[in-house]
């Protein structure tokens, strides 16, 4: 996953991002504010609560709502009939004016939210009063491509877990914000960093890694919730066999114009590159506790555009992967694009739901919204592709190979669906996806591995100034793959979607609008201007019988939407 208007900006931004040398940071309050004592209502989060999160209208316990990651809030107090009356209940301002991608977690009326550069706040989810702030003490070296982002915490027991830009996993005491333990996940000097929300499950914390723009070897790791001990590692690039089946077509059957003979010859000469082949995992994995399986998608191979030095399918990049929850062992994979040279990889979180199988019977599926603009519906047990949706945004000249001068192809490297998590309304069998349309040229440039700390794209992506960019919120019928409705937005969409049992769909825009739509028709029912880009996924919860909808408005680094520092919380008057 990577994307910039031009390589020039990319190099610059990468450089800036990487050089952060933060000073000492700690838990505390700024000198002008006084902390409110932590609410006594906050109780340890049990495994039963975490498992039942999908039907719990009181709390929002996982970044994507539940282990199935449907982002479907089961309460209907706010619904299509009354959403027009929605008003801000409070606005919480952080001390960090930089992109916000956080999905706030709410436990017993206490909200945990994060900012860029790894600050965590615990606040009262009804009044916005602050309980504590944790400021991560950043190591001297950080390496990351797409902004100093953080997408939120995971909670379990009395702890709050966060991945950091200097590639650590930090466990905080939920009541005080004090560090309980820290684990170094990987070496930031080698291109590793953390922006994703971890997943707390069954005594473990699961976390992937960024770094596909720096020649990492990606992974998902599991840590012990109690002491931060590493329990298992699944490498997203296998020791052997990354070359796969030499697929010539993508998941939709289109020819990818590979020169398989040349690739085979190159592989015979050198196969050591699996160590720097990329394969980041950007979003929280989904978990099926019935089968004890963890599902996630793996991002692009490194370097992004220059494929000649990484012959083969580059497994398991651009794939959905299922592994065993207890041991991290491989179960299956399904690759959408073999030997990707466009960075049209797999980023948005996997969702577990049900859909019609090939024989017309409902089956358990794992779905993914691709940067290609397709929603892919895979069989949860085998990984087999059941169907892919109509393209949600324009596709042109697929798959034109990148050239030294730059070749135009749609979609541009941001998608389609970027990291933005989708949401499902299981009653309607619909999935809602936030899409971008950013025409780009793909330019290749030979480049040797530069060591892990320098942005390694092997070329550049350039937006085409004369071509308009826009976004599209799309509802796809899971049983047919047909688009039920689509709403065009003036700017590319990045941030993610919330669906609710009130048959609503909430989605934010880079221009500051936060909107609610009718889940059936796509009719706009309500909007509120937050004054900065709403580029984070919304969440919903209930305290004292009242439903709230919360969303961060902090703008976006990657597409350069106006920055802010606030979480807006809405309720009916």
């Amino acid at each position: 996953m990577f994307n910039r208007r031009t390589i020039l900006m990319a190099a610059v931004a990468g450089g800036i991002a990487m050089s952060s040398q933060a000073g000492a940071q700690e838990v505390g309050m700024s000198s002008t504010t006084t902390a409110t004592p932590m609410a006594s209502s906050l109780v340890p989060v049990t495994d039963a609560m975490l498992r039942g999160a999908g039907t719990d209208a009181k709390n929002w316990l996982h970044s994507n709502g539940s282990y199935a990651q449907t982002r479907y809030y089961p309460g209907a107090q706010i619904n299509t009939r009354n959403v027009g009356k929605l008003k801000p209940a409070f606005v919480f301002q952080t001390d960090m004016l930089e992109s916000m991608e956080t999905a706030p977690i709410v436990v017993d009326g206490v909200m945990f939210l994060t900012t860029s550069y790894n600050h965590v706040f615990a606040i009262n989810a009804v009044t916005g009063e602050e309980y504590w702030e944790y400021k991560h003490k950043m190591g001297p070296i950080t390496t990351y491509c797409c902004g100093p982002n953080n997408r939120g915490v995971a909670v379990a027991g009395g702890r709050v877990f966060m991945g950091t830009l200097d590639a650590k996993l930090v466990a905080l005491d939920a009541r005080t914000g004090k560090v309980d333990w820290e684990a170094q996940i990987a070496d930031p000097d080698k291109g590793y960093s953390e922006t994703m929300a971890p997943v707390a499950v069954d005594g473990k914390v699961l976390i992937g890694t960024n770094g596909g723009e720096y020649g990492i070897r990606g992974f998902v790791k599991a840590y012990d919730q109690n002491d931060g001990k590493l329990l298992w590692t699944f490498n997203t690039i296998p020791d052997k066999g990354q070359e796969g089946v030499w697929a010539t077509k993508d998941a939709t059957g289109r020819d990818m114009h590979r020169d398989i003979d040349a690739e085979k010859a190159a592989l015979a000469k050198d196969s050591s590159f699996y160590q720097t082949l990329g394969g980041g995992v950007w979003m929280a994995p989904a978990v099926d506790l019935k089968t004890r399986t963890v599902y996630f998608v793996v991002g692009n191979p490194s370097p992004d555009l220059y494929g000649a030095i990484r012959p083969g399918d580059n497994l398991y990049t651009d794939s959905m992967v299922a592994v065993d929850l207890d041991h991290g062992t491989y179960k299956w994979h399904y690759q959408y694009i073999a030997h990707d040279v466009w960075d049209l990889d797999a980023v948005s979180a996997v969702i577990l739901t049900e859909a019609k199988g090939v024989n017309g019977k409902m089956v358990e599926v794992a779905i993914h919204g691709g940067k290609t603009g397709h929603v892919y519906v895979n069989d949860r047990a085998t990984g087999k592709l059941i169907r892919f949706s109509e393209a949600m945004i324009p596709q042109e000249n697929m798959w034109t190979l990148p050239t030294a001068q730059g070749a135009r192809m749609l979609p541009g490297a941001n998608g389609g669906v970027e990291w933005s998590p989708m949401a499902v309304n299981p009653k309607l069998h619909m999935v809602y996806a936030a899409n971008l349309h950013q025409p780009m040229t793909y330019q290749v440039e030979a480049a040797a591995y530069p060591g892990g700390s320098k942005l390694w794209l092997g070329g550049s992506f350039k937006t085409i100034a004369s071509e308009q960019q826009w976004g599209r919120l799309v509802a796809v019928n899971l049983d047919s793959g047909k688009i039920a409705w689509g709403v065009k937005t003036p700017q590319p969409l990045i941030g993610g979607v919330l669906a609710t049992a009130g048959d609503l769909v909430f989605n934010g825009e880079g221009n500051g609008w936060f909107k609610a739509y009718d889940a059936r028709s796509g009719k706009e029912l309500w909007k509120y201007s937050c004054g900065a880009g709403v580029n984070a996924p919304a969440v919903s919860y209930m305290v004292n019988g009242k439903q709230y909808v919360a969303v961060a408005a902090g703008g976006n680094n990657q597409i350069d939407f106006k920055r802010g520092n606030s979480v807006f919380v809405f309720a009916l008057p």
């Binding site: 220059y306 030979a446 480049a447 060591g451």
Partner: protein, 199 residues
């Protein structure tokens, strides 16, 4: 886009200092106490990093991040030069952090380069055309992993551009090898004249 205030602030301070210091003396006082390992570099780069031999690059006032990465590259063999190699190979990551911090905090001094005004003008034109400033910042002051080249030794800059073009130097992740691939000998000469003349 994406700038962090602190970095801008740091850069501005450095520039202000160098502007003040420039006319006063050719051998500035060190800022702070050098790490012990910096003594090994002094023979070629001087203790403040204001090298006087044009084959040895000025390190003073170079960005921290760039110095850090180049030293890591020398150590790992991704960048090679017979002179620097032996002293750098034994440095630990902590040494490299300290050295990069030290040299980046020193004041760069004018090298005393006597430019050819015609070539300088041609070099400026070429630099505008190729958009060098998009990465190196206006006036080649550098930012983070992109080096400061303003006021660097003419001979050194020329050699680097030639090395990038010939792919003798390939630790740049493709950025400079791509830029240099279309430069002529005259372009390189003019660009080196132009940036060496900046301060």
């Amino acid at each position: 886009m994406n700038s962090r205030i602190s970095h801008h602030a740091r850069l501005t301070v450095l520039l202000a200092l160098s502007a003040l210091a420039a006319p006063v003396s050719a051998q500035p006082a060190p800022v702070g106490t050098p790490p012990e390992k910096a003594q090994a570099c002094a023979a070629c780069h001087t203790i403040t990093g204001n090298s006087t031999n044009p084959a040895y690059p000025v390190l003073a006032g170079q960005t921290f991040r760039y110095l850090y990465l180049q030293l890591q590259d020398f150590k790992a063999g991704r960048r090679y030069h017979p002179s620097t190699d032996p002293s750098v190979a034994t440095l630990s990551s902590d040494d490299i952090l300290a050295l990069a911090q030290w040299f980046s905090a020193q004041k760069p001094e004018p090298t005393g380069f006597m430019p050819d005004p015609v070539k300088v003008a041609a070099g400026r034109k070429k630099a505008d055309e190729v958009l060098c400033a998009m990465c190196h910042h206006g006036g080649f002051t550098g930012q983070n992993e992109v080096p400061r080249v303003a006021g660097q030794h003419y001979a050194y800059v020329k050699k680097q551009l030639e090395d990038f073009r010939a792919k003798r130097r390939t630790n740049d992740a493709g950025n400079m090898t791509s830029v240099a691939s279309t430069l002529t000998d005259a372009d390189i000469d003019n660009l080196a004249q132009y940036v060496a003349n900046l301060n």
